[in-house]
């Protein structure tokens, strides 16, 4: 034995798991105990540095960890048992994977010698999770645990982030078997070296193309949020007076109330954003992936545009739409380098061309496509979001579920800061909103945290109201209750002659009583004039979870809406108008 290993602390596999998390700077682990992870839970119990949050269903643990990662850029950590514990986490892992969110998921596994024997609560979690993780690994020897956990965090957080699953057989964590603990300070993998800086020649080309543009637009996605590049993006856009559109995942990357912001683009994007994109001659795409909910028919996509595409993942470039000037690298250093070149060149865009471009954009803006009816006696969901935006001054964390309410939140909340719009964009996971809001509130107790949801989505993880009570999570739930699965109903209205196959929810619970049963405050809002005082009251109750059950117009649709098969600027603007 060398003198070094003599000094090393001897720890069990279970204790090493927790110590490694502490060394990684993890404050909270979200999870649910069970047979295969009991040694690890016992190790958790015997220390105070890493705190555990007990959810009511494993899916909620993954969404809590995921939301923390969306807000901070650091990997959220989940701990679940084998079998059903692990499979319940699958939806949350896939949610994180689709939106490139760093997460480390520790799943228990049956003892090594039982693997493959269909043992109690055995499931092949490596096999199940393989298509929905950035990477997964299993522990073969307890002494490898520190290095594997370090590697899991490194892979999850570097390059294009994503979830990593570490499967831990129970016999790797036996308390009586101890090993030398040494947490590696860095990881080097010969097979994984994500590109950081962009290619300087390509960046020069991009700047030249951008400065020569007559009808430019910046199209910024979630990569700007996770890549912490919204300052650089904002500076570049404002320096050049170029319009900016954000994807659903990119909201907040550019200030929502700035005059250069033309709104979200895509399926439910603004009229002006989709028009500006379609007619642009240069598109600077930053950390966005040209997905089908943005492009509509790729064959008709932005016919005149030279496309500059910055992305950390080369596979995202020219996947659906060909990029003319691809730049592979982290968006922050690439944008910084672009900024430096623009400043150095002291050249601006053609002023006359830009002025007439802005004139055109402002004319599109004046069309007000997708504006809602403000003359009815019913509560409009758009109005609710506008009111929430006003009361929270665009600074709240808005955690959304999936459906019409998600689109209303995206369209009408003015996000002024990045990392504050927390929603499941890629996978579209109903049930995401409440656990996400919980993960945010726990980590940002002094901020306003809103969960925008509907009576469909909220019931997919309603059991977490109990977790909220246990940890005192004062989330404000905005339940846009229209009695229908609104987005499904909208499609049925538009494509199935209003045959509402299973989109009406009979026998909804009394959400006020339900909130109260869990120990929270419930407020029902049925008239427009009740809305503002109810919201004021809810946000004034700082530490309380308030469930606002807001009965909205059940007939409302989300507009604009791209017409299937069309170009991105071909839109339905209301139930009766189209482009």
């Amino acid at each position: 034995m060398t003198s070094q290993s003599k000094q090393a602390e001897m720890l069990s596999g279970a204790a090493m798991v927790i110590r490694a998390l502490a060394d990684e700077g993890v404050e909270y682990v979200y999870g649910y105990p069970g047979g295969a992870v009991l040694h690890i839970y016992d190790a958790l119990f015997q220390q105070t540095q890493v705190k555990h949050v007990l959810v009511r269903h494993e899916q909620a643990a993954t969404h809590m960890a995921d939301a923390y990662a969306r807000a901070t850029g650091k990997a959220g950590v989940v701990l679940v048992t084998s079998g059903p514990g692990a499979t319940n986490a699958v939806t949350g892992i896939a949610t994180a994977y689709m939106d490139s969110i760093p997460m480390v998921v520790l799943t228990g596994q049956v003892m090594s010698h039982l693997i493959g024997e269909d043992a109690f609560q055995e499931t092949d979690m490596l096999g199940i999770s393989r298509p929905i993780v950035k990477h997964n690994m299993s522990v073969r020897r307890p002494e490898d645990i520190p290095a594997l956990i370090r590697k899991a965090f490194y892979i999850a957080q570097s390059g294009r982030p994503g979830p990593v699953v570490l499967d831990i057989p129970k016999d790797m964590t036996i308390p009586s078997q101890t090993f030398a603990y040494d947490y590696p300070s860095e990881v080097k993998l010969r097979s994984y070296q994500p590109k950081l800086k962009g290619h300087s020649g390509q960046i020069k080309k991009a700047v030249t193309a951008l400065l020569a543009a007559k009808r430019p637009i910046i199209y910024a996605g979630g990569g700007v949020i996770m890549g912490r590049a919204s300052d650089e993006l904002t500076e570049l856009a404002q320096l050049l007076n170029v319009p900016v559109t954000n994807t659903l995942m990119g909201l907040g990357a550019y200030p929502g109330d700035d005059k250069q912001f033309v709104g979200m683009l895509g399926m439910h994007g603004s009229y002006e954003a989709n028009q500006t994109m379609h007619h642009a001659d240069v598109i600077l795409a930053v950390g966005a992936r040209f997905d089908d909910r943005v492009t509509n028919n790729t064959k008709k996509f932005c016919p005149d545009a030279t496309i500059i595409h910055i992305d950390v993942d080369p596979a995202s470039i020219s996947k659906t739409v060909n990029a003319h000037i691809p730049i592979v690298g982290l968006v922050q250093p690439v944008l910084e380098e672009m900024l430096g070149l623009v400043k150095q060149k002291k050249k601006k865009l053609d002023e006359a061309a830009l002025a007439s471009w802005w004139q055109q954009i402002n004319a599109w803006r004046a069309v007000h496509g997708g504006r809602y009816d403000t003359t009815t006696s019913q509560i409009k969901p758009q109005h609710v979001i506008e009111m929430v935006s006003k009361i929270t001054k665009g600074n709240a964390f808005v955690c959304s579920d999936v459906g019409q309410h998600q689109m209303f939140a995206a369209q009408y909340y003015k996000f002024n800061k990045p990392n504050r719009w927390i929603n499941s964009g890629g996978l579209g996971t109903m049930g995401f909103g409440l656990p996400a809001a919980m993960g945010i509130k726990l980590n940002f107790p002094d901020d306003d945290v809103v969960c925008v949801t509907g009576e469909g989505s909220i019931q997919m993880n309603i059991q977490e109201l109990s977790t909220c009570k246990q940890y005192g999570l004062g989330v404000k739930i905005i339940n846009l209750n229209n009695g229908y699965l609104g987005m499904v109903k909208q499609w049925q209205d538009m494509n199935y002659e209003s045959r509402y196959a299973s989109s009406y929810m009979d026998s909804l619970p009394d959400f006020i009583k339900l909130a109260e049963a869990y120990g929270h405050v419930g407020i029902r809002v049925t008239k427009p004039e009740e809305l503002e005082p109810a919201l004021e009251r809810a946000f004034a109750l700082k530490d309380q979870l308030v469930f606002l059950d807001i009965h909205i117009d059940p007939k409302e649709h989300v507009y604009p809406m791209q017409i299937p098969g069309g170009a991105m600027n071909e839109l339905f603007l209301s139930k009766t108008e189209r482009t």
């Binding site: 490596l126 096999g127 950035k134 990477h135 299993s138 892979i155 010969r190 097979s191 596979a315 996947k319």
Partner: protein, 163 residues
């Protein structure tokens, strides 16, 4: 277009499943696949034959690169290369058929590696095209069994795919 993609892969459990899974998940084709450890036991060399248009092949190579266990890869068919496939064919060989099969094997420089009273087993090495042609040529005989190894390939000249 047919492409031969050669991959250096960490020789770890699950790595092959991850690679093959990628093809299934994203709807790419695998026409043949061979894999075995290299002289460095920590690395496997994998040769995969696939087909698709340029955009699909570009996505395949990019997506393969993203797999953590993929160390290096190259599209062999982009430049001069050697490709070989091994085939074992068991053919009915009785009566005057015996001479016919023997002659055919000779023409293709195949070897008869096993003999029974009524069968020959022929071993043949070459490009996939040559192997296909041999099977065509045997059409007059009764083929009992065909086993093909899938393609192995290597670049011509000094170009290597190694650490």
């Amino acid at each position: 277009m047919r492409h031969i993609i050669s991959v250096l892969l960490e020789n770890e459990s699950g790595a092959l499943a991850r690679l093959v899974g990628l093809f299934a998940q994203r709807g790419y084709n695998i026409d043949s696949l061979t894999v075995a450890p290299t002289e460095d036991a920590t690395l496997s060399r994998l040769t995969l034959v696939t087909h698709g248009n340029d955009q699909v092949i570009e996505q395949i190579t990019k997506q393969l690169h993203k797999l953590i266990e993929v160390v290096k890869l190259t599209d062999l068919s982009e430049s001069a290369h050697i490709e070989r496939e091994l085939m074992l064919v068991k053919v009915k060989a009785a009566g005057n058929q015996r001479d016919e099969v023997k002659r055919c094997a000779d023409i293709f420089r195949g070897q008869i590696v096993d003999v029974s009273a009524n069968t020959y087993t022929v071993q043949l090495v070459g490009t996939s095209d040559k192997l296909d042609a041999f099977i065509q040529a045997l059409s007059g005989s009764q083929i009992l069994e065909v086993v093909r190894s899938g393609v192995s390939g290597i670049s011509r000249g000094e170009k290597t795919l190694a650490m």
